[in-house]
Amino acid sequence: MEGPGRGIRGTAWTVILFLLLPLAVVLPVSLTDQPYLSLPLHTLSLQYYANLLHSADWQSSILQSLLVACVSAGIAVILGTLCAIGCWRMGDHWAKAIQALMLIPIVVPTIVYALGLYRFYAQLGLLDTLLGIILAHAVTAIPYVVVIVSTGLSGVDARLEQAARSLGAGPIVAMRRVLLPLLRPAMLSGGLFAFVHSWDELVIVLFIAGRRVFTLPRRMWDGINDKLDPTLAAVAVLLVILSAALLFLDLWLRARREQT
């Protein structure tokens, strides 16, 4: 018999539906005509999308989240790429140890990490500041960049750098003109992951943000706890669309890398 059996197919589809249905529910809820989080009763309405456009709170949260995600992704890409290149050059057991160390922010439960940050930031005066959130998100995103860029580096011939040096390029120029162009797809991919990581991060924000910093996930969290405001669902739909767009961008980048 060809392919998997009925039972296995059925299970697979059940799992896929279980993963996707919550997303599908969000769309009709965002179009509700009711004043609270529910499925539409009489008619479809775009009022909560309009609300999103006119609400200063939601807009400020979107802007804050964009700013935090972009800057923290930028920092993570720079530091993560440098770390990956350094480990690649060393290429010994120390490099392996450092790479393992870099994975700690992924391995340690976020809530434990957030608790530590809370104590630490209190002393540094970084609580409830954009800078504090940006730094926290950058540090926790570095592992994604290190892993992705290291994978990209594994396909790079170490002699390319020597060749550039022998042709007259100093170490910095050799990196800028040879290594970085070859790593650009991996860095972009790492940057996308870092962006998404920050974009929907809630736990750390709940611990270290107070009145001033209100990122989008935090605004949504508040919305669902206090008011059951359907604007929440409208935001969720936009988030799903953005995440899907980023995912496809990443897939497209990978496909292009394999072609060249």
Binding site: Q162, S166, L167
Partner: protein
């Protein structure tokens, strides 16, 4: 173009307990083609990398035209280098690869275009300037690497086993091309290989390395005809070896006893015991009376056909198994068990040093 003189003086480099370079001195200049030849792990690549600046020797000095360069970073030495596997930049076209060293040196646009074209024409690749390296064959990539290493008019060209990735036919034609290119650019080349045939065919000088030491340096003919020791004689081509004890000495040479034979040798004996080396192609098959000074008889054990000659393994009384190269036009095919007489002139064999060359 003036040919620069590179001198390596007493270079040493250790990795842990292994001596990769052990007191190596070498002089390269006068536009010569110098080959570093040795088995893997002999230190030939380490020596090349030390010259290029990628390996820092523990001691010893490197000078170019008398000025020390040991402290200079690789990019400051102005040596062209062709790497094993070519190391072409995969994200740049052929022309951009060749233009790279000129852009680094801030050569003007018009001059860059002109020099890139000239360099690509030098290796007959002008028509492929806008291809990506991946779209080229191994031989073509090789030539791009050469053009890129020559376009900035380096002081010296270093080549690290550049032909090892090519198939045999292509390798032979690239050998000719490389020789030809060497003649045209007037630069000294330092070429690393583990292939003896390649070294003999291409070089002005061959430096034989073993265990981090430079065993012998000389022209291919010198090394082949007058190997300094057993290692060189065995490493470059085939050789027969036997021991003897000196019996008598006269103006023309000396006689020695080996395996019950009284044999003649030109030259002076280095001591009472000698090690004799004889190339298989210098053994003659004797028919009729007369002939060379040394004559022995033996039985053919095996014979393999090689087109221009038979390689024959002989069992010789007292001297053991010997190899002989018999021209195919001279003889009816040799067959197993056939008894033949062979001989060689007193100056056909050489006395060599009975060492492997890896100890001082």
């Amino acid at each position: 173009m003036t040919a620069h003189v590179l001198e390596a003086d007493r270079l040493c480099k250790r990795y842990g307990t292994v001596a990769a370079l052990d007191d190596v001195s070498l002089r390269v200049g006068g536009g010569r083609f110098v080959t570093l030849l040795g088995p893997s792990g002999s230190g030939k690549t380490t020596l090349l990398m030390a010259i290029a600046g990628f390996v820092q020797p523990d001691s010893g000095s490197l000078t170019l035209d008398g000025a020390p360069i040991g402290h200079l970073a690789p990019e400051k030495r102005n040596f062209g280098m062709v790497f094993q596997g070519y190391a072409l930049f995969p994200h740049l076209t052929v022309a951009e690869n060749v233009a790279f060293p000129l852009q680094i040196r801030r050569v003007g646009k018009a001059e860059t275009t002109e020099r890139v074209k000239a360099a690509l024409d030098l290796v007959q690749l002008g028509h492929l300037a806008f291809r990506m390296p991946k779209q080229l064959s191994g031989g073509q990539q090789q030539r791009v690497a050469l053009a890129r290493a020559l376009v900035f008019r380096p002081n010296l060209l270093l080549l690290d086993e550049p032909l090892s990735a090519l198939d045999k036919t292509l390798r032979l034609s690239m050998q000719d091309e490389l020789r030809d290119l060497h003649g045209r650019v007037g630069l000294s080349f330092v070429f690393v290989t583990h292939d003896q045939g390649e070294a003999l065919a291409m070089s002005d000088d061959v430096a034989i390395m073993r265990g981090g030491r430079l065993v012998q340096i000389g022209s291919p003919a010198e090394l082949y005809e007058r190997p300094a020791n057993r290692f060189v004689a065995g490493f470059l081509g085939r050789s027969n070896f036997w021991q003897g004890r000196v019996a008598a000495q006269d103006a023309a040479g000396f006689t020695y006893m080996a395996g019950g034979h009284r044999l003649h040798q030109a030259g002076k004996p280095p001591g009472p015991a000698v090690l004799v080396s004889l190339r298989p192609e210098k053994l003659m098959v004797l028919e009729g009376a007369g002939g060379p000074a040394n004559q022995v008889s033996g039985t053919i054990a095996t014979a393999s056909y090689g087109g221009d000659s038979w390689l024959v393994q002989l069992d010789v009384d007292g001297l053991g198994r010997m190899q002989a190269m018999l021209p195919t036009w001279r003889r009816t095919p040799p067959h197993m068990g056939e008894a033949i007489r062979i001989g060689w002139d007193a100056d056909a064999s050489v006395i060599i040093d009975d060492s492997e060359g890896d100890t001082a």
